[in-house]
């Protein structure tokens, strides 16, 4: 078993910046877990603290039930893949992959054979004698992964493992990474600022802001029901509509239009009404529970179009099929799906349960 348990973990940098501010988190054995957040939210610091490269200023870290908070990185039985891969430029691929075993004083022939086997699994068989400088970005990334695999750790820690690859390669590397993690079934924590990457790879995601976790959940939970407006804003490849509204009996009004919604707040309470552009339909005629607007901007997303409508002072986004492109200036009505409508507290931004 190698679950990771963080309790009240804190890391404060000189100058009082609380990079990690009281984190309680449990990553299950074998889970593929994403730390997601904007730059500067403390996600990388949290990962480095788990690795032992930063010392915790408070709280505890346990791996597989053992308290490792005060252990040095090498004694925690973790392997880390760095954003720049940190491959040793003076060593060949096979020497790089065999390095964790070299530190453990495994005999040379044995560790090189093991490295060759791991390398072959990661499609590096023909490259074992090259230097890292002679490899492409994708190959370097696989060497870094192979080196982590060769260490046979209890936990993998990946710091932005895909961000140094170009966009095309990133997609295939993503699939590769997910398959590798499934096969090895080693508890894995990875850091990313790319919400699409987190949604695609992770079993569960922790969304972070300013050193704190704002929501933990499966990709589906985080995407469908963001726990607050911060997560709502951050998740999704199209920005979620977050419109000011007022509660009424059995619904909310947005810009004078009544939308049906189940809630338990008093009528007249100010709210934020959220719905994704994908969870709304655009129609050419007025429907009940539809917001009127004029098409201002049309963005092509491939199989769909993202329309931004001007509705009074508000901007409302909606996606439509690729073959239904309206001319700018067209009047349309946007009808959110009632079962995908989310209500948030206007002050704190937390979700209001039905």
């Amino acid at each position: 078993m190698s679950e990771i348990e963080l309790t009240g973990l804190r890391k404060v940098f000189e100058g009082g910046v609380r990079a990690v501010d009281g984190i309680d988190l449990t990553v299950a054995d074998g889970e593929f877990f994403a730390l997601l957040g904007p730059s500067g939210c403390g996600k990388t610091t949290l990962l480095r603290t788990v690795a032992g490269l930063e010392s915790a200023d408070g709280g505890t870290i346990a791996i597989g039930g053992d308290d490792v908070t005060r252990l040095s990185p090498g004694d925690r039985d973790v392997a880390m893949v760095f954003q720049d891969y940190a491959l040793f430029p003076h060593m060949s691929v096979v020497e790089n992959i065999a390095y964790p075993q070299r530190v453990k004083r495994v005999p040379k022939a044995e560790r090189q054979a093991a490295a060759a086997a791991v390398g072959a699994d990661l499609e590096l068989a023909g490259l074992m004698d090259r230097r890292p400088g002679q490899l492409s970005g994708g190959q370097q990334q696989r060497v870094a992964l192979a080196r982590a695999v060769a260490a046979r750790p209890r936990v993998f820690l990946f710091d932005e493992p895909l961000s140094n690859l170009d966009a095309r390669l990133r997609l295939s590397a993503r699939t590769f990474l997910k398959r590798l993690q499934r096969e090895l079934a080693v508890t894995t924590v990875f850091v990313t600022h790319d919400q699409a990457e987190a949604l695609a790879l992770a079993d569960r995601i922790a969304v972070m802001e300013a050193g704190r976790i704002r929501q933990v959940g499966t990709p589906q939970e985080v995407f469908r029901r963001p726990a607050n407006t911060f997560v709502a804003n951050f998740i999704g490849s199209t920005p979620m509509n977050l419109l000011p509204g007022v509660a009424v009996e059995g619904g909310v009004t947005v810009a004078g239009v009544r939308l049906p919604a189940a809630h338990s707040v008093a009528a007249g309470t100010e709210l934020v009404v959220g719905f994704r552009p994908e969870y709304a339909t655009a129609s050419a005629e007025d429907l009940p529970g539809a917001l009127p607007g004029r098409v201002a901007i049309v963005e092509h997303l491939g199989t769909s179009l993202l329309l931004t409508l001007e509705s009074g002072d508000l901007a409302v986004g909606v996606t439509v099929p690729e073959d239904a492109e309206p001319a700018p200036g067209t009047s349309l009505w946007v009808q959110p799906r009632p079962d995908r409508l989310l209500l948030y507290d206007a002050g704190g931004g937390d979700i209001i349960e039905a």
């Binding site: 090498g74 925690r76 880390m80 430029p89 060593m91 390095y99």
Partner: protein, 278 residues
């Protein structure tokens, strides 16, 4: 295209420029020419002349026991100081590069300033007294210590730059795999900073190889004097320089330094700043 047109004035200026450059080149080349011709001349003189070829001067030199011993002493002193300087400077530069010591910039510059004093002429009297009190007169270790003391600051200064240019993620990666600080230094930092270490090694060796004053003062026993000091004893009783011996000795004395420069330059390229060729 128009052919280039020279006005007479420009033509004269150009000729004057080449004559001047030629003179400057000759000024530096003639001593070197002497070094290449005189050792092979039966009657070497102060001037450069086409040699009346002979290897007799080298036979005289090889027979001169004191001269040969002095070359051995030079090797011991130079390699000893080089080893201590490179080892000490590598450890110190690594520490200074990785640990934020308050005022380390000022400390380094101060050390650099003082280092030119330590092996300089002005400090010879206190150094002699210090070594005398420490019982290190006529001791090779003493000379190595004094030379190392003078070389370390500049070596640390240059090596720190190489260490700074090594990405921390390399070391952190090794740390996570369980490498201890000395393993990290040996497996990762030393190989990556090898061009810097090689530069420092050659520079330190050459500094000691060519130093006259420190061994001259700290060795009273002529048998321990290195080549740089021995050379000034090659005079006849009448006070005439033994040019045959001096010229052959000079060539032999220069050869290792030249060979070392060529070797390190070919292998690593001389660099006094950090940076990694991936």
């Amino acid at each position: 295209m128009m052919p280039p047109v020279f006005t007479p004035a420009a033509f004269v200026r150009r000729i004057g420029f080449y004559v001047l450059v030629g003179l400057v080149a000759a000024f530096f080349a003639i001593p070197l020419l002497w070094l290449l011709t005189a050792p092979f001349d039966t009657t070497p003189a102060y001037g450069v002349q086409v040699p009346d070829f002979t290897l007799g001067n080298f036979r005289t030199l090889l027979a001169n026991e004191q001269a040969m011993i002095s070359l051995g002493e030079s090797v011991i002193l130079a390699l000893g100081s080089m080893a201590v300087t490179v080892g000490g400077a590598a450890l110190a530069a690594y520490a200074l590069s990785r640990v934020a010591v308050p005022g380390r910039g000022a400390l380094l510059y101060l050390l650099l300033l003082l280092s030119s004093v330590v092996t300089g002429t002005t400090a010879m009297v206190p150094i002699f007294l210090l070594m005398f009190e420490a019982g290190l007169i006529d001791s090779r270790a003493g000379v190595v210590l004094v030379m190392t003391g003078g070389l370390l600051p500049a070596a640390i200064f240059i090596l720190k730059d190489f260490m700074d240019a090594t990405p921390r993620s390399y070391e952190e990666s090794a740390r996570v795999f369980g490498a201890r600080p000395l393993q990290i230094l040996w497996h990762v930092v030393v190989p990556i900073t090898r061009p810097g270490l090689a530069t420092i090694a050659v520079w330190a060796t050459v500094q000691v190889w060519g130093n006259f004053l420190v061994p001259f003062i700290l060795f009273t026993d002529p048998a321990k004097q290195p080549a740089a000091v021995i050379m000034h004893t090659f005079y006849t009783e009448g006070g005439q320089p033994k040019l045959a011996l001096i010229s052959a000795f000079s060539l032999l004395y220069s050869a290792p330094v030249v060979a070392m420069y060529v070797f390190v330059s070919r292998r690593y390229g001389f660099r006094f700043h950090g940076g990694i060729k991936r």
